[in-house]
Symmetry: C2
Subunit: 337 residues, 2 copies
DNA sequence: TCTCCTTGTGGAAACGTTTCCTCATCTTTT
DNA sequence: AAAAGATGAGGAAACGTTTCCACAAGGAGA
């Protein structure tokens, strides 16, 4: 491995001079600059960021902790985060936790031992005590949370207004004349599920439609969960004419169940999803869904964390982004009987 | 930040002793071991792997270079790679290149500057001269390539037998009585496209069916590309009764085109995909496709690279995995007219 | 009793950078 | 002409570990 020493020797200058040239700090004459640069090229010197990290206390590395990259929401998000990181000269360590708190805590410790400059979390399903612990033990580490709320901690949060999203989805169905609207979502302990449910209830109340508790199901944000619960729901004596799915994945499961029961979407069953992931346009009929600005979430997460790192200051910024309804083909006016 | 010095002072032993205890190397009495461990716990010492990396010349970090994590194939692969890495104590840097060689080379340099212990590539679309350069400049860096062939370089390769996959897909359609079978795939410079095409041709020849060059299209491994080309293909006077898609994404596009043209799958058009990604079960009807052992590819990639790192030796291992046909709902016997 | 292992511990060098400090020269100001 | 500032470059400390080496003490074998 060729080191800064080799370059210094080759260029017949001191180590400090080489470092200064390469970092463009302090004064250097044009002549020595050239000599150094020539030597660098000649030897193919690349430098060691790990040595630099030791003294600068900066690794230009970020940790990204998500449940599962196979989940379409998180792969979209990860891409946005990585792009943003890269444009600021950062790399990201990808960590899949499967929502397992034990796995998460191990990743956190590893990341810190490796000297990451910040950590971005996206764990929508879990009320996370690990994060509280990190915050206590490493108060100076910049952290951004995506999609969950932490009232008491000085931690940056980026949220979508899930209440608003739930409200929009439900309102859309109400406008189409639906009265029997079910709601299938992720875990009841998940912040986004709860808020979406609130929006759902609010819209129904506003229209004077009583809430039917049989039509509200909290399970998980997965295809399987959508399938299983839709199957149950659609086989009831009085089945809903529309379902608001807490995520596009759940909607995929609902499609599957509907197909199995020979229910045509949207003629016999309207479906609204949440996320506007890749799935939405693949499904047939294409899914009407609530668009979450995933890309913007990722970008903003990076902006905030990079700012925090550059200014060496811990903020508590809470950013709320707003979802929108994307009408496609999976909803239509309810059939009057 | 609490360092090993603090622990040594707290435990009233030397730095070396602390290090020895923590690394379980050399001799240490039970008594001092306890003292050290107690101090570690008391101070909440975590250690700095970056300092350790300096002297050990090991960062326990791997680079993973892919075109795009949003691509379903690569998110599945990434997950497998990350799991494998994690189980060996490694972290991965995720790098999305969009098949851009310039971006790729920048990532490579960054990764090397950060001291990664190895790099895993998966760039199926590009014949990669960057890799040759890395190999020349850093001959000791373990590298694994997924899905492409490099004849002359001492680089580990993990391949699926694409010829075999192409053959199986086409044979399946032939067995169902199809004679007009089209092939839509990724770029003509991509190893996997070429091999799949060879398998396709071989199967047709074997059945004595002449190759219709109008039915062979090389474009890109994307949904859009499948859509666009299927649209063209299916509007010809003599349209194919079956299409073999070079990837599941392409198949998704074909579905879209078929729907637009009011062609029922599989009654009027049979489709076989390639990859057996998440898409396959989401599509309706569910996609018959060639299963590529993505998970195994990821695991093996890690095994090989970790072995290379541990033994500090560069191998050239070429591993070929075999695809299988997964019959679902998108193919059926051709209608006799 | 003497030598030789085994066990246990500490000191110090090394890893490859950055940065602080010092010193020298040259230019400008008073 | 002297003082002050700007420019340029090198020496050495520092970052937080691991590991090599030296040394000491205790027990075993001759």
């Amino acid at each position: 491995m060729v080191t800064i020493k080799d370059v210094a020797r080759e260029a017949k200058v001191s180590i400090s001079t080489v470092s200064r040239v390469l970092n463009m700090s302090g004064y250097t004459s044009e002549k020595t600059k050239e000599k150094v640069l020539y030597a660098v090229k000649k030897l193919g010197y690349t430098g060691s960021l790990v040595a630099a990290a030791m003294i600068k206390k900066q690794t230009l590395t970020l940790g990204l902790i998500i449940p599962d990259i196979k989940n379409i929401f998180h792969s979209d998000l990860t891409r946005a985060v990585e792009d943003g990181a890269n444009s600021h000269g950062f790399n990201i360590f990808l960590c899949n936790t499967d929502n397992n708190l034990q796995k998460e805590v191990e990743y956190i410790h590893l990341l810190i031992a490796k000297g990451v400059d910040g950590i971005i979390f996206s764990s929508p399903e879990v009320k996370d005590k690990n994060i509280k612990e990190v915050k206590e033990k490493f108060p100076d580490l910049p952290i951004v949370i995506l999609g969950s709320k932490f009232h008491n901690l000085t931690i940056n949060e980026i949220l979508v207004d899930n209440f608003d999203g739930g409200y929009r989805a439900t309102s859309h169905l109400l406008e189409l004349g639906h009265k029997d609207i079910a709601f299938i979502s992720g875990g009841i302990d998940s912040y986004s599920s709860i808020e979406r449910h609130k929006g759902y209830k609010f819209a129904l109340n506003e229209s004077g439609i009583p809430i039917n508790d049989d039509f509200v199901i909290f399970d998980r944000f997965y295809i399987e969960s959508g399938y299983k619960n839709a199957l149950k729901l659609l086989q009831k004596n009085k089945r809903p004419t529309a379902i608001f799915a807490g995520s596009d994945s759940i909607a995929v499961g609902i499609y599957k169940a509907a197909r199995e029961l020979n229910l045509k979407i949207p003629e016999q069953l309207s479906v609204v999803g949440f996320d506007d992931s890749q799935y939405a346009e693949i499904l047939s009929p294409m899914l009407t869904t609530i668009h979450t600005p995933i890309k913007e979430m990722g970008q903003r997460a990076i902006e905030i964390i990079v700012k925090s790192i550059k200014e060496k200051k811990i903020f508590k910024e809470t950013l709320v982004l707003y979802p929108t309804l994307v009408e496609r083909e999976s909803t239509m006016a309810v059939h009057s009987k």
